[in-house]
Amino acid sequence: MSWITKTLTSSIGRKIIMAVTGLFLCTFLVVHLIGNLQLFKHDQGAAFNTYSHFMGTNPIIRTIEWGLVLGFGFHIFEALVLTRRNKTARGAQGYVSNHSEQNSEWTSRNMGILGSIILIFLLVHLYNFFWRARFAGDLPKMGGADPLTSDYDNLYMAVVSSFHIWWYVLLYVAAQISLGYHLWHGFRSGFQTLGLNHRKYTPLIKYVGYVFAVVVSAGFASMPLYFFLFTNAQGEMAANAPAILQTVASAF
């Protein structure tokens, strides 16, 4: 083995791959969340569908997409390798009494479980939107008078109809709670693994991570909840929606 492979397969090397891919995936979450906020726009999905078409066809985005595939791939692969290694290191005989809840946070000890829930969600999510848009091609078209956008996939309607299925909404919300807890530990952990620990910045990184975790997970979870609770089958806001939502919606 060369020094590079030796470095990257050592315990610290694998941790560093986890940290780099994890923090990279955090940037993806930001982009994905901001893009998806267009679902809330009251234009029958015109803006969201145009954005989706751009993301699905632009050559630069399509190239970066491979980085995302690799980011997820390595993050999941290294997690599996490290978990196996760590289980072996712990040994076959466990403790009869172990009160780890007294010395550490639950989220920190259960990143694997949280990650697995997110992975299951990811596969369902990719099949439902990505696979159908990119490969299956069975989504309805936008139609309408504009010849430029009439043959765009109407991904907005796919989102709206999915988010009217109760178990789908449940899966999404559960996955976002898991993601929130995953980020609660993962954000600051990534910096620590990269050696970025400083008494001036580490407390800041920690709290930025907490805010990031809450904002991202709540942001994503708000989408299925909004469509399930407050819209009709066409994605138009129901008359019984809270006044605050009506006010916010009319602002767009």
Partner: protein, 261 residues
């Protein structure tokens, strides 16, 4: 007895102790009862009482590791009621006093668990994996010759203090025992950052971290996931900052050392 509390009443306790005759044998928890334990005793003195009782009854005493009984040698290593060195913060087992327990308590006592720390007998574990990690690079090579003057190499007090904080690691292994991943990174990082901070350690800085991490992996310790149990259980308060230092020392060494292997 000087310093003892005259009002402290002796305690009767139930002990659940891990008994294992040797490395290969299957172990199990065995229940014992000890009577009239003074609250002023240390935890190890309480075990001495148990062993006396066992000897008088013609039974095999419980093997456990101990040496200085002053909290500085790092020999004592019991996992008490689900915590390294017991539930008290910042203590070794020998410095844990029975007044932290109450009459009638049941106390579970287990050896450190980790694949790299095999159980020799009962509560005594083999921690020579730590010795081999130190042998791989946890030292400063000193050439023979005249002794250098004490103040020849000026070291700022702040640096000296930080190096000393890392140097306080007694190598007890509480970090490994508490870690979900049985990772030795707090132990390794304490030595790596101690020596990386000092000019004397700078000469072997890159080979040290490369060799110590390689040995740590070879011994079969796990990889840190930044849970923080280790630092919470450390009797001398080695901080997680050291693991961050280890990570960047390792990365910098791998990127810039002349070692191609």
């Amino acid at each position: 007895m000087a310093g003892s509390n005259p009002n402290a009443k002796p305690m009767n306790l139930t002990l659940k102790v891990w008994r294992q005759p040797n490395r290969q044998a299957q172990g199990q928890i065995v229940e014992y009862h000890v009577k009239d334990i003074s609250p002023d005793m240390s935890f190890l003195e309480m075990l001495d009482v148990l062993n006396e009782d066992l000897l008088h009854a013609g039974q095999d005493p419980v093997a456990f590791d101990h040496d200085c009984r002053e909290g500085i040698c790092g020999s004592c290593d019991l996992f008490i009621n689900g915590r390294s060195h017991g539930p008290e913060k910042g203590t070794t087992t020998c410095q844990l006093h029975m007044r932290k327990f109450s009459d009638g308590d049941t106390i579970t006592i287990e050896p450190w668990r980790a694949n790299a720390f095999p159980v020799n007998k009962d509560l005594s574990v083999d921690r020579s994996a730590f010795d081999r990690i130190i042998q791989a690079g946890g030292y400063v090579s000193v050439n023979t010759g005249g002794a250098p003057d004490g103040n020849e190499i000026p070291i700022p007090k702040e640096i000296a203090d930080r190096a000393f904080e890392a140097a306080t690691c007694i190598g007890c292994g509480a970090c490994v025992a508490a870690c979900k991943n049985a990772s030795a990174m707090l132990f390794v990082s304490a030595k790596v950052s101690q020596l990386a901070l000092l000019p004397q350690g700078n000469v072997e800085r890159k080979t040290r971290v490369e060799n110590m991490v390689a040995q740590m992996d070879k011994e079969g310790f796990g990889a840190c996931t930044n849970i923080g149990s280790c630092a919470a259980e450390c009797p001398v308060g080695i901080s997680l900052e050291n693991i961050a230092i280890l990570n960047r020392e390792f990365l910098a060494a791998k990127a810039t050392s002349n070692n191609l292997a």
